[in-house]
Amino acid sequence: MTYHNPPTPPRKSATFDDASLAEIRRAAATGIYDIRGGGTKKKLPHFDDLSFLGASMSRYPLEGYRERCDTSVTLGTRFAAKPLHLKIPITIAGMSFGALSGPAKEALGRGATLSGTSTTTGDGGMTDEERGHSDLLVYQYLPSRYGMNPADLRRADAIEIVIGQGAKPGGGGMLLGQKISDRVAEMRTLPKGIDQRSACRHPDWTGPDDLEIKILELREITDWEKPIYIKVGGSRPYYDTALAVKAGADVVVVDGMQGGTAATQDVFIENVGQPTLACIRPAVKALQDLGMHRKVQLVVSGGIRNGADVAKALALGADAVSIGTAALVAIGDNDPKWEREYNALGTTAGAYDDWHEGKDPAGITTQDPELAARLDPVAAGRRLANYLKVMTLEAQTIARACGHNHLHNLEPEDLCALTIEAAAMAQVPLAGTDWIPGKTGL
């Protein structure tokens, strides 16, 4: 009898997987870290790991249509003379003109306005298009202060002081030379075509004690009319929320690590920050500990995709959510209809993230006039409004099923978790048990 060695199939390392190998080769070839847009791409515990407990015998559900389920929310009730009254608890996150094309910014404004919600400027100032097409516009106050001016501050509806964002807590942004067009350069007072590095700290204050004085200045300049939001990246949400409240915020925005960016180092996007799911309860606890829950509103962002995500964020204690990536997809980002062009760029629809290169076939993350002209801001605005409507209906459907006549009546007790990780992070019981890891006994 003869014995043959059975063939050993090739086996790739789970540690040195294809992506890791490719990155090593890319780094060796170029000598620069990988820069890209978007949020983290790795699998994280998320809202999908939670499920609602609909009403049954012990709770009674509400009838659709007939029995109302309200969706309104007011942001900025603490100090501002003119808080923002939104019809839906879904706002459009800050994205800059520069990172996005003019038509894209206009589309976001149109969609938000049709839906009765707010949109937000970004690092690069306020454009007339976006002010004109946004009923409610939040003006971001960023470390770079590009385009910052008091006239725009006065014509904004709220001011969002950006301390950080979920994609890169503790980091500044970058806009590479390809996107610094004449108009972007002028708005930012920069030479055309250079790499623009945004600072990671504000130039004229550091820390919450100084921030309190900065807020006083902004309130004095705007005669105490505008709500002041403070946006932080999801890193230490309990302390950051508490300190934002102590510094005098009307609204706290917590952006988890799935939140996107126009461009930063991939290593930053993938390795810094906490999942959105893990950020909400500590932020809510900080508000509760200070007696400020619902008095200072909490907006949560980072990876919100559908009405279930909205309902889950609200049930965990948020007052509203904010969307960025999803809004871009709604207006046409990464649409398969551009597949051939994505292929030409070496990628595929759904994976395109080289937003900083300004070659976006969809005409959204670009300053190339020909590409930008592909986006019809009216039609794209309509698409965003449709999407926001669907999310709202979905959230209402869930809220009614849980017996609530207003989205803000959703509670953590309406939820169970499907994984131990999600149970621990969201502090709701693992499905089928009353076990909250770290909170209750097994």
Binding site: I32, R145, D204, E217, I221
Partner: protein, 228 residues
């Protein structure tokens, strides 16, 4: 002349009055007494008024000023004239950190010394400091002019874009991508005009050196990676 004694009148009333000035109004000279280091004094002015502040102020005095002429007869705290758009701010004493930060226009004159980060992220403002300036001044300066009759601290002009820096005294050290540059006739002319506007006399433009961006960090180059 409207007069506000901040030991008796809330700050809000002063700023409200300054914001409410109608075009063509006659009250164009405001006086502010007893600021005692208060923050946000005379911020967000939009009218060409003259505001005279008798005493020292805290953070962000004359913040985001447009058109007004604001004079501090004392010292100023952090961020005086931050993000100024136009107009003139004069500090008779010293200025703390961040003087003229992110300023986009107008003239800031500091008759004493300015502390660190003077002109940080400046975007078109002109700043004239009679005394010395502290470290990290004109960090990421994008546009405008910083004129220093005294000495500059460490890391002057770090990560500088296109702001132009003129220093009469010594520079303790230059920041990344900031270099000394030739004083050409147009620079002498710009500097002479700034000195005159700031009321500086008896000083020649030939006494100054000019510093600006080496522009090596403008587009990423692996050979400059040590600067990051």
């Amino acid at each position: 002349m409207p007069y506000f004694d901040l030991s008796e009148t809330p700050l809000r009333e002063l700023n409200r009055a300054l914001h409410a000035i109608a075009p063509g109004a006659n009250d164009r000279e405001f006086e502010v007494a007893n600021p005692r280091g208060s923050h946000a004094v005379a911020v967000g002015c939009q009218a060409p008024v003259a505001v005279t502040i008798k005493g020292s102020v805290g953070y962000y005095c004359a913040g985001m000023n447009s058109a007004a002429t604001i004079t501090v007869h004392g010292s100023a705290g952090p961020g005086v004239a931050e993000n100024m758009m136009s107009g003139t701010v004069i500090v008779e004493g010293d200025a703390s950190q961040y003087a003229g930060a992110t300023g986009r226009g107008g003239l800031l004159v500091i008759k004493g010394n300015a502390a660190s980060r003077c002109g940080i992220s400046m975007k078109g403002i002109d700043i004239v400091v009679h005394g010395d300036i502290g470290h990290m001044s004109a960090f990421m300066g994008q546009s405008g002019h910083l004129v220093v009759l005294g000495n500059a601290g460490d890391a002057l002009g770090d990560s500088l874009y296109e702001a132009k820096l003129f220093v009469r005294g010594t520079v303790k050290s230059l920041g990344a991508d900031c270099v000394e540059k030739e004083m050409r006739p147009e620079h002498h002319a710009v500097l002479a005009a700034l000195l005159e506007k700031a009321g500086v006399t008896g000083v020649e433009t030939t006494e100054f050196k000019r510093y600006g961006s080496a522009r090596k960090l403008y587009n990423f180059n692996i050979d400059n990676a040590d600067a990051y």
